[in-house]
Amino acid sequence: MIIMVAIDPSYLITQVLNGLVWGLVLALIAMGLALIYGLLDIVNFAHGAFYAFGAYVAWQTLLSGGNYWVALLTVPLAMILLGLFVESTLLRRLYGQDTKFTLIFNFGLMLVIVQTCRFIWGARGKPISIPSELAFSVNLGILSYPAYRLFVIALTSAIAIAVFVFLRKTHVGMATRAGIQNREMVQVLGVNIGRIYTLIYTIGICIAGIAGLVASPLFGVYPEMGAEVLIPAFVVVVVGGMGSFHGSILAGILVGQVATLPIIWEPRIAQVMIYIFMAIVLLARPAGLFGELGR
């Protein structure tokens, strides 16, 4: 506590907000992982690569004369097409097979996507500038904070809420939640679960791509960006409880703080803090915050 007092409160709040930005980006990636794992029983190792691909589509959009706002349309569109293509031509053949097939498939898919990005756009990182409309700082009283980061908080929150409403209020969302609890029974009741698989996979991929787009002005665009974000995203999924949508959002926000706040005191331990945090959560709740054991 003594250390806390010694810190400038505006710096502390800035770090909390930075943690929120990072946490919400992680939550977007983790929610797709959680939904795809929960419903399709697939651990999507390629999810980070889709995040990177989204960022590269944004870069290509800028190269082709578009701007950030155009990318906000081209990225989801490209991701939807890619998700539909992968699910309907390749992934679908592996449903009902041993888990190791989908693991190997997704690992291969990850390599193919990352190498394709390297081949088309090169191995060197690309800077994406913050859209000029948001290149200013907002005065929040005791501190001023970049408008683009506030925009990221708003957009990612809006996406999370939209997915939440979709799962809660629509019939397809209802069937998705039912499928996560009992895949066989959903089909027995007459629901064509294959269509729901396609939809959820595509939504997951699309949201990962949008996360790549919003993150790109903050962290740049480079081939390894997906691999770097995949491990923390898995930490979020595990902390939240495998397959839990709510868990992935809350855990994303928590992990964002855990990854960011220690920088104030000791930047060198910040990297490992999320793993220590995960270990503590799992010791207290072996199935994660919102998970159920024995799934």
Binding site: H171, M174, R177, A178, E184, M185, V188, G190, G194
Partner: protein
Amino acid sequence: MLEVRDIHTFYGDSHILFGVSLEIKEQEVVALLGRNGVGKTTTLRSIMGLTPPKKGTVLMNGEDITHEPIHRRAKIGIGYVPEDRGIFPGLTVHENLTIAADGVGAPGGNYEDAFKFFPELGKYLPSRAGRLSGGEQQMLAVARALVGTKHVLILDEPTQGLAPKVVDRITHAIKGISKKTSILMVEQNTDLALRLADRVYIMRDGNIVFSGVPQQVRDNEEVQSYLVIS
């Protein structure tokens, strides 16, 4: 109506059903009996397409449905309640029924029939299904399986683990349902099954070893020996 012809079903490499054949006619209650592990549940799962047979056919009103996708069966009128009831515990009773209504193509929750036999479910509509008692969950599972136009209802151990009073409640409902819908049931409680059933099949080691009416089972000690644990 529903006909199973010489099906062979496997779990992985293990051969479970060795040429099972049976038939359920209109408005008939058929009991499938036998000791544990003789393939009763596998027979029901084969009919539903959950463990499709490698050989043989499943016919519904003359149409070969052996290799139809699982979800098609609800639409052509087969309802199924598995042994573990298969309710969605995290969803409300209303949502459990709505999914069934959507599944058979009556979007918007057209499930009035469900309440005909279990009116008490009405008051639980907003409750999470996981919070219901075992008996209430079984009522929900049966009601949900009946949503839409169902010609055959398949029940796997519908009274298992329920209190005697609830067993009576379910038994009464089964009698009511059977006036319009054929029923194929697996039941450990032999007395109950013989009281409810019009016809009985008895299985042993993945085969049907007896087929007849309940009185024949009561009269024949050799047949009864297939049912008791010796």
